[in-house]
């Protein structure tokens, strides 16, 4: 059973001005997160990611649909009953949201105070958590004395103090530099592996998804437009918006501008080959070109790795060494040999002729 499941959930805000139309922030979203998953939700600003994640712990109330946490529908629960639900769901924020008036230890202790845990237990748990995030020596410091990365580690310690089964991370690394981002992501990976906490990660950074998520949903204009294993979505995005995200981390297929530049430099035929997992034997593909005496030059592309599986696209400029004088336009004489090779390569992988 999914630990978090949304069924046909929508969130509609009343119009901003009189006579205006309703603002649909979340549009009929269904989503299932299995226990132990690190589930990434990605989308551009304004896609509705932050609203969606706030529906999970009911900081925002949905307009319609069911929101099941461990099978319990929380969509209609009154505020008072939601408090117990929220104790089982930790949350970390982009701006950390630590209490500036409290020391690091008192911040981590806060959820335990809310849960009315006895003092001895609180002290013990705070020490454990600060140890886990590597900030035991900062227990008495105040948030404004910490760096951004340290603040987020305190945020993580606080979010996990009450031993929730679910952790919501709302752009948790977006205010951090790349190096600190990876420290925090490593920590989140440990949280998932060592404590078995299910993590829902909201981000606009594909890099974050690539590093820690196992599944991903792509959001656009309040809808989930694509979802699946990170590897599948990265290696073969179906929607234009997903493809745009993927292209920010994976240099794949050249866009029209880049293609124009390539065209100018390479008068011959240009093809893009897809490589996915180990299903495609690169050595055999290139062997075919070499055997046929077709010259090839890698002019664009990249191979990436997600969860230990590699994928990517390589764009080749081809030239027939034996027929240099022949015209190179497709279909004309002298390109038959190239066509013949491409036919053989097509049995090995996907070939896209780029014009």
């Amino acid at each position: 059973m999914a630990i978090v499941e949304l069924r046909g959930v929508s969130k509609v805000y009343p119009p901003h001005e009189k006579g205006g139309s309703d603002v649909v922030a979340i549009d009929d979203v269904s989503l299932a997160v299995e226990a132990g998953d690190v589930y990434g939700i990605i989308g551009y600003s304004g896609a509705g990611k932050s609203t969606l994640v706030r529906l999970v712990n009911a900081l925002e109330r949905s307009t319609s649909g069911e929101i099941l946490i461990n099978g319990q529908d929380i969509a209609g629960l009154p505020e008072r009953e939601l408090r117990t639900v929220r104790l089982g769901i930790g949350m970390i924020f982009q701006q950390f949201n630590l209490l500036g008036s409290r020391s690091v230890a008192a911040n981590v202790s806060y959820p335990l105070e809310v849960a009315h845990r006895p003092k001895a237990e609180r002290v013990k748990r705070v020490a454990e958590m600060l140890d886990f995030v590597g900030l035991a020596d900062k227990a008495r410091a105040y948030p404004d004395q910490l760096s951004g990365g340290q603040k987020q580690r305190v945020g993580i310690a606080r979010a996990l103090a009450s031993q929730p089964a679910i952790l919501l991370a709302d752009e948790a690394t977006s205010a951090l530099d790349p190096e600190t981002t990876h420290e925090v992501l490593d920590l989140l990976t440990r949280v998932n592996r060592e404590f078995g906490v299910t993590i829902i990660v909201i981000t606009h950074e594909m890099d974050v998804i690539q590093t820690i998520a196992s599944k991903v949903a792509v959001m656009d204009q309040g809808r989930v437009i694509e979802r699946g294993d990170v590897f599948d979505v990265f290696s073969n995005p179906q929607q234009p918006a997903s493809a745009r995200f993927v292209s920010t981390v994976v240099k794949g297929i050249p866009n029209p501008d880049e293609l124009a530049v390539l065209r100018g430099r390479h008068p011959g035929r240009i093809v893009t080959l897809a490589f996915r997992d180990n299903a495609v034997d690169q050595a055999r593909v290139f062997g075919e070109f070499a055997r046929a005496g077709i010259g090839f030059e890698v002019v664009f592309g990249g191979i990436n790795e997600v969860q230990g599986r590699s994928f990517g696209h390589l764009t080749l400029a081809l030239s027939d060494a034996a027929a240099t004088d022949a015209p190179t336009t497709p279909g004309a004489g002298g390109t038959d040999r190239i066509d013949a090779v491409l036919d053989r390569v097509r049995t090995l992988t996907t070939v896209t002729e780029v014009r």
């Binding site: 900081l59 929220r86 104790l87 949350m91 701006q95 008036s101």
Partner: protein, 219 residues
């Protein structure tokens, strides 16, 4: 100068009365201000207890009372004072009226200070299951404590100012002393002695407020 020395016992008595009036009005007005300020803050759109009608009424009430010059407010509120404390004149009546006026002035200051608390911090508290009352006492007030202390220091000075007018309705204090023995007797030295005492008092309290605020802000 000799007359001032003769008047010293009255001066100390007046100073004591000022402290008495200001102390009590700081307590009652401060408390009232906290309630009005919290009311404004909590019922504002998007806040924890968002309630437009309550906010609009409260907001209107504050704006209605605040611009009234205090000496006129003193006269206008006299029937109300008679109703609540049983008399329209004397120290107790003026303590009531000052507290009332201060509640609305302080309410605005409290509201402004609470608005400086980042909404994210409140959201973080809600996300761990904290209820509204707990958020008020463990997040809102502690997070805004530094500016709140400065706000209360500011209102203290206003209270001293208001208490000086008390003489007009039979209240005591340094204002009354300066009017009675200084201004009406054409004795500027006596007037200035009272003024000096008020200045020293204000300086001391401002220093105390700054120190406490610095401590709360840890700067």
């Amino acid at each position: 100068m000799e007359s001032l020395i003769e008047l010293l016992p009255q001066l100390w008595k007046a100073a004591g009365e000022t402290l008495y009036i200001v102390g009590l009005t700081l307590f009652f007005g401060g408390l009232g201000g906290l309630i009005v300020g919290l009311g404004l803050y909590l019922t504002r759109g998007g806040s924890l207890l968002a309630n437009k009608p309550v906010f609009v009424v409260l907001n209107l009430l504050v704006n209605f009372v605040r611009p009234i010059p205090f000496i006129i407010f003193l006269a206008a509120a006299q029937p109300l004072a008679r109703l609540v404390v049983g008399t329209g004149i004397g120290n107790n009546a003026i303590i009531f009226t000052i507290s009332l006026a201060a509640s609305f002035a302080m309410g605005r200051i409290v509201e402004q200070n609470l608005l400086t608390v980042t909404p994210g911090v409140i959201e973080a508290a809600r996300s761990v299951g904290a209820g509204t009352a707990r958020i008020i006492f463990t997040v809102l007030l502690p997070e805004a404590l530094g500016p709140l202390i400065l706000g209360y220091t500011f209102i203290f000075v206003a209270l001293v100012d208001m208490s000086a007018v008390a003489g007009y309705v039979g209240g005591g204090g340094l204002g009354n002393f300066a009017l009675l023995y200084g201004y009406r007797q054409f004795n500027p030295i006596v007037t200035w002695a009272a003024v000096l005492l008020i200045i020293v008092l204000v300086q001391l309290v401002q220093y105390l407020g700054n120190t406490l605020a610095r401590k709360a802000l840890r700067r």
